[in-house]
């Protein structure tokens, strides 16, 4: 029940009565605590038992999707009550099917009618436009008839055209067709007409200003009216064919103006009639859809649940007698009671008399890894899972990461101001959690930030804390409690000199600044030197502690899995190696901080006598003796030289121990076992050896494969492991120096930004300076946000992630498990919803 290790899981066998299976699985789906195993992996999807039911569900879903599409098309709001409807009984499926069938047919019919009506309407409107537009063409001709002499100033083609028309009119057999065509097809249409008829036709066209609705796709399209004049029947056939080819619709157009007018009037009345019919059809459609929109979400949920249940049932095995279904599932041991209850509820609901049987099975298979998470721990667990899902029941790094992750981040991101911005942003996300979740944003970047809101919040808090320690507030120091340094009275020449040296002997109040760095360092020339030494040491201290903690976790793991051999041959030499060399280094750092002080010159403990830790450490490993410089001792305490030699020798001895210990012991153990086995079998007491083996198997489930491993493999693994650890200790310790490097970079960057940007605004005087500052501040604020908070934050985040994944987790974490994915309606519905969107 804790985050420290994954839940204990049990493989259970379920015997369900055929009639009760559906209800039971439905209850389990609501519960969401059982992961079913596929018992017929070699059976095709379409050869399974409940494939017909799945297919029916598919069909229902298709109908629902059709309904939904139509509803969306009309823009009717769909009621999403968010209530959780239970999976309906199997017999309800038929009702649902009938309902959907009826709705779909009704809708299709209405749509068909509407389409036919719309087509009719479109044709009439087109005809209306033709009559109106062609009127103009014919009018023109009549005008030209009257004053033919005035045509000289008309455009040429019109002139030729009218000439031709007149000619034809005089000859008495001028034919024409009128129609409507998509506007974008006009140019090729015209070209084709010209080519196919060798220029013997005359085309006039006019655009219809209002877009018309295409009845099949219900898109708005623009069309043009055209009229083609030609001579003779040959051409007529040809023109008609071309029109057909270009999907132009032709309409009969009477020749005389009176007929045309009459026809126009008729068309107008028919359009009126059609409009009323059309609106009635639309009303009907609307009514149907509104009724459907009310319950469509619930229907979707129901159908998806049924489908999920049958999918799960398909994973089950059929008993020989066909009377019951056999299922296997992983369940958390602590939830067995809940599963039992759910099964009982399911049986009651189905009215079956035979209770379902739930058997716990012994298995050698590795169970899935399952953590009970809440919204706070989820983010941290995801960080760990991104590296690898934990092996079953191994120690989980996530609970420690809750503190170490933001802390290491903050060491690199130490600035009170930037931390404050981050905290406020995260706080806003946390406060408005519910409305923000309800929005269901699809923006990937936003979702990443939002998913990690608690991590960001903690990172912000910790950054504020480290900001206080570093005394950085947008790269400036806060003098909250008053600096403990002062300029001594006798050195009043400060007014003459540009610089003044503060000696801790006489310029320091001898009690430190209450929290963090003394603000006086902000103005000091050697600020960077001082901070470097401090931050470097701090990162080594943090790093070594973090790694030792990792090694301790491995002890916890070995104890949990009862692997004595690992404790003896892995953990003990490892921890000795780590503490004797690296933790000793940390102790030296503390010793140096405590032992040496400003006024300690007389005892040889003055500042200039403090030995360099780095040199001491190198000398220690290389067995070199330090030399006395002046009156300063090269050693920090008595017997240091001998003690250090002892430490190094022991630490180095640990390497062969790690290398050879485990393979040797395993080798011995196997020999012994072999002997025992032969002895025992000759004595006829095979039972005992079976028990021994059983005990071994039960004690170390993950050690299963280790027992069958070949000897040479074990040796090679151990060698790799040892080399990795020993080299890792050195390189990982160095790797923690990134804490120092990034924190330095961050501080410097924000200082540069202040110095190069905001200071410009602060320096200029008069009213102009105010305006200038106003603009400069905007630039500074943007850069602070974009570079210092966002980019630097991201980089610090990544480095923290690396420190956790590599430096910390490689000490104990295998991450070779697979996640528990229970059969749960909630997740199924959610994914279905996401796919839909």
């Amino acid at each position: 029940m804790s985050l420290f290790r994954s839940e204990e899981m049990a493989l259970c066998q379920l015997f369900l009565q055929s009639e009760a299976a559906y209800a039971c699985v439905s209850e389990l789906g609501e519960l969401g605590l059982a992961q079913f195993r596929d018992l017929n992996p070699f059976v095709n999807a379409f050869q399974r038992k409940f494939v017909n039911e799945v297919r029916r569900c598919d069909e229902m879903e298709r109908k629902l999707r059709y309904l939904e599409k139509e509803i969306k098309k009309d823009g009717i709001p769909m009621l999403d009550s968010g209530e959780n409807v239970e999976a309906p009984q199997p017999r309800e499926m038929i009702d649902l099917e009938a309902t959907f069938e009826k709705l779909e047919n009704e809708l299709r019919e209405v749509n068909q009618n509407a389409e036919a009506l719309k087509r009719n309407y479109l044709e009439l409107t087109e005809l209306k436009h033709i009559l109106r537009k062609t009127q103009v063409f014919f009018d023109e001709r009549e005008i030209h008839d009257v004053d033919e002499s005035l045509t000289a100033n008309l455009i040429e083609d019109q002139y030729v055209g009218t000439q031709m028309m007149n000619l034809a009119a005089k000859q008495g057999h001028l034919g024409f067709v009128a129609g409507v065509i998509l506007r974008e097809r006009i140019p090729p249409f015209e070209r084709m007409l010209w080519r196919a008829c060798r220029g013997n036709v005359f085309l006039r066209q006019a655009e219809i200003d209002t877009p018309l609705e295409d009845p099949t796709t219900s898109d708005q399209v623009y069309k043009s009216v055209f009229i083609i004049f030609f001579q003779g029947d040959q051409l007529k056939i040809r023109v008609k064919k071309i029109c057909e080819g270009f999907r132009a619709t032709l309409y009969p157009c009477p020749e005389t103006p009176n007929d045309r007018r009459e026809m126009a009037v008729g068309v107008m009345t028919r359009i009126e009639d059609l409009n009323t019919v059309l609106s009635q059809t639309q009303d009907h459609r609307h009514r149907v859809l509104v009724a459907a929109a009310k319950s469509i979400k619930i229907w979707f949920t129901k159908v998806r649940k049924i489908k999920a249940i049958y999918h799960t049932l398909n994973l089950f095995n059929l008993d020989v007698t066909q009377k019951c279904l056999i299922a296997e599932c992983w369940v958390p041991v602590s939830d067995l009671e809940a599963i039992h209850l759910a099964l009982r509820r399911g049986t009651e609901r189905s009215g079956s008399s035979v209770p379902p049987i739930l058997n716990r099975m012994e298995t050698r298979e590795v169970p899935p890894t399952y953590f009970r998470l809440n919204k706070f721990t989820k983010g941290f667990q995801m960080l760990i899972d991104a590296y690898g899902v934990g092996t079953y029941r191994e120690a989980n790094p996530a609970p420690y990461a809750i503190i170490t992750f933001p802390f290491l981040f903050a060491v690199m991101f130490g600035d009170f101001g930037h931390g404050l911005i981050m905290t406020l942003f995260a706080l806003w996300m946390v406060m408005n959690e519910k409305p923000l979740i309800a929005k269901k944003s699809t923006s990937e970047i936003w979702n990443i930030f939002f998913g990690g809101r608690y991590i960001i919040l903690l990172m912000g808090f910790f950054s504020m804390y480290t900001g206080l320690i570093y005394n950085d507030f947008f790269s400036k120091s806060l003098n909250l409690f008053g600096s403990q340094w002062f300029v001594p009275q006798k050195s009043m020449y400060i007014f003459k000199e540009k610089d003044v040296m503060l000696d801790p002997k006489n310029a320091y109040a001898n009690s430190p600044y209450p929290i963090g760095l003394d603000p006086v360092w902000q103005v000091a020339d050697n600020k960077i030197n001082f901070l470097n030494a401090y931050k470097m040491k701090v990162s080594i201290i943090i790093g070594v502690c973090h790694m030792i903690f990792g090694v301790m976790m491995s002890l916890w793991n070995h104890m949990f899995f009862r692997k004595k051999i690992n404790i003896l041959c892995d953990f003990v030499p490892q921890i000795i190696f780590m503490t004797f060399i690296f933790f000793y280094l940390v102790l030296l750092v503390f010793h140096k901080w405590v032992a040496y002080y400003a006024t300690g010159d007389d005892e040889g403990l003055g500042p200039h006598c403090a030995p360099s830790i780095l040199i001491t450490f190198i000398n220690m490993v290389l067995f070199k003796n330090g030399e006395k410089i002046g009156e300063c001792e090269p050693y920090m305490y008595g017997g240091q030289q001998g003690f250090q030699k002892f430490l190094v020798v022991i630490a180095v001895l640990c390497i062969p121990w790690m290398l050879a210990g485990k393979p040797y012991l395993i080798y011995k153990y196997r020999q012994l076992q072999h002997q025992q086995f032969t002895n025992v079998s000759t004595a006829g007491l095979t039972e005992e050896s079976d028990q021994v083996q059983m005990a071994n198997g039960a004690a170390a489930p993950s050690g299963d494969h280790e027992e069958n491993e070949k000897m040479e493999d074990i040796v090679i693994h151990q060698a790799i492991h040892t080399i990795e650890y020993v080299l890792g200790c050195v390189s990982n310790t160095a790797s923690y120096l990134r804490l120092w490097a990034l924190s330095l970079a961050h501080a410097q960057l924000s200082e540069v930004l202040w110095g190069m940007v905001l200071r410009l605004g602060l320096q200029s005087g008069s009213w102009f300076g105010g305006v200038f500052l106003f603009m400069i501040f905007a630039a500074w604020a943007c850069l602070t946000l974009a570079i210092l908070v966002l980019m630097e934050g991201l980089s610090a985040f990544l480095h923290t992630l690396r420190l956790h994944w590599v430096e910390f987790q490689n000490k104990f974490y295998q991450g070779a498990g697979y996640p528990f994915s229970p059969f749960s309606f909630d997740t199924i519905l959610e994914t279905a919803q996401n796919v839909e969107e």
């Binding site: 095709n44 999807a45 379409f46 097809r185 090729p188 196919a196 064919k241 057909e244 080819g245």
Partner: protein
């Protein structure tokens, strides 16, 4: 360096194409497909592959023709997507691929018009990749010259058509001649485009494929021309001259009088000899056509073994087409309960 330059313009599309290619059905999928009892089973299984729920919105029962349409729709959508994102010279290359579909469409429409079929019935049968603006007005033409002047002059096929204008009439025989002449001109133009404009890996890969295409046409034209009115001179004029058979093999083919002679011509070419060797009309043997398909699939699959060339786009489309044919074949067998020949699909390795 070459790869970097290639990737500036075409890296995305090549990656996309290779991604699509991994979605091609595997042998395992086919084994499952042939076990299907109904089209519904087929649909269920295809839903588990890269096709996803492309049939989900079709009301059951699904007919084979809907299946065919949907399969084709998917390929076309993928191809059009790639075409839309392509830049020169890849866009021209992709256009070249579509020309063969245009030729097929034209011939389909003309033949349909000859048989007095209404346009509305013919149009859905046209391949969407080969549709062009003037296509529907094609039936106004009664002679090849008219066809050229009125319809084809604006299309990219115009230069290929020059050789056919001389034909007098549009009858069945001439339509076939037009198709083959167009195809010959098209293949040669495509071949030249690949070797002269593109060069490099594209040329190497595409030449292999196009040469085979040309030779296949020559062989099949020859075999099909026996016992028809086609003269030997006319026949020789239809052979595309960009294959491996050119010039000697084509000259020999032009003289051939029966199947055995064609076979003996093919003997001289290692690749084709193997194809002819295993082909026959007996039930247990594969037809020559299938052997050709198999070889084509092999060439197309090989195109994916090299990188930084355009051949993958061509090969992908052809492979996908073959896959559609396979699925439709299996679906037909399933629908007609004619399972004896269900295994005659062409596996894509």
């Amino acid at each position: 360096m070459k790869g970097a330059m290639f990737n500036i313009d075409n890296g995305y599309l090549e990656g996309l194409c290779r991604g699509f290619k991994t979605g091609i059905l595997t042998q395992n999928d086919y084994l499952n497909l042939v076990q299907c009892e109904t089209i519904e089973d087929l649909k269920l299984h295809l839903a588990g592959t890269d096709y996803g729920n492309f049939l989900a919105n079709e009301p059951s029962p699904i007919s084979v023709s809907t299946l065919d349409d949907k399969l084709r729709e998917k390929v076309v959508a993928e191809f059009v997507h790639m075409r839309c994102h392509a830049v020169e010279p890849l866009s021209t290359f992709l256009d070249f691929i579509t020309y063969s579909y245009m030729i097929d469409n034209i011939v389909l429409l003309i033949t349909g018009a000859l048989h007095q079929r209404p346009l509305q019935e013919l149009l859905p049968k046209c391949h969407p990749l080969g549709s062009f603006e003037q296509m529907e007005a094609i039936h106004i033409a009664t002679t090849p010259a008219e066809l050229y002047n009125a319809v084809l002059v604006d299309t990219p096929l115009a230069p290929f058509f020059v050789d056919c204008i001389s034909e007098a009439d549009l009858d069945e025989m001439n339509v076939e001649l037009i198709r083959n002449t167009l195809y010959k001109a098209y293949l040669e133009a495509f071949y030249d485009f690949c070797t002269q404009k593109l060069g490099g890996e594209t040329a190497e890969v595409m030449c292999e494929i196009l040469a085979f295409e040309a030779d296949r046409r020559a062989l099949i034209i020859t075999i099909n021309s026996f016992d028809t009115e086609l003269t030997k001179e006319d026949r020789a004029r239809l052979f595309p001259k960009c294959g491996k058979l050119y010039p000697d093999g084509l000259a020999a083919l032009a003289r051939a009088d029966d199947y055995e002679q064609v076979r003996s011509v093919a003997e001289y070419y290692a690749e084709y000899q193997a194809l002819f060797a295993g082909a026959g009309n007996n039930p247990e043997e594969k037809t020559l056509e299938d052997r050709f398909f198999e070889y084509e699939v092999k060439l197309n699959v090989n195109a994916f073994l090299r990188q930084f060339h355009y051949g993958v786009f061509y090969a992908y489309l052809k492979l996908k087409e073959q896959e559609c044919r396979n699925i439709v074949w299996i679906a037909e067998c399933v629908a007609q309960r004619h399972r004896a020949k269900i295994d005659n699909y062409i596996p894509i390795l």
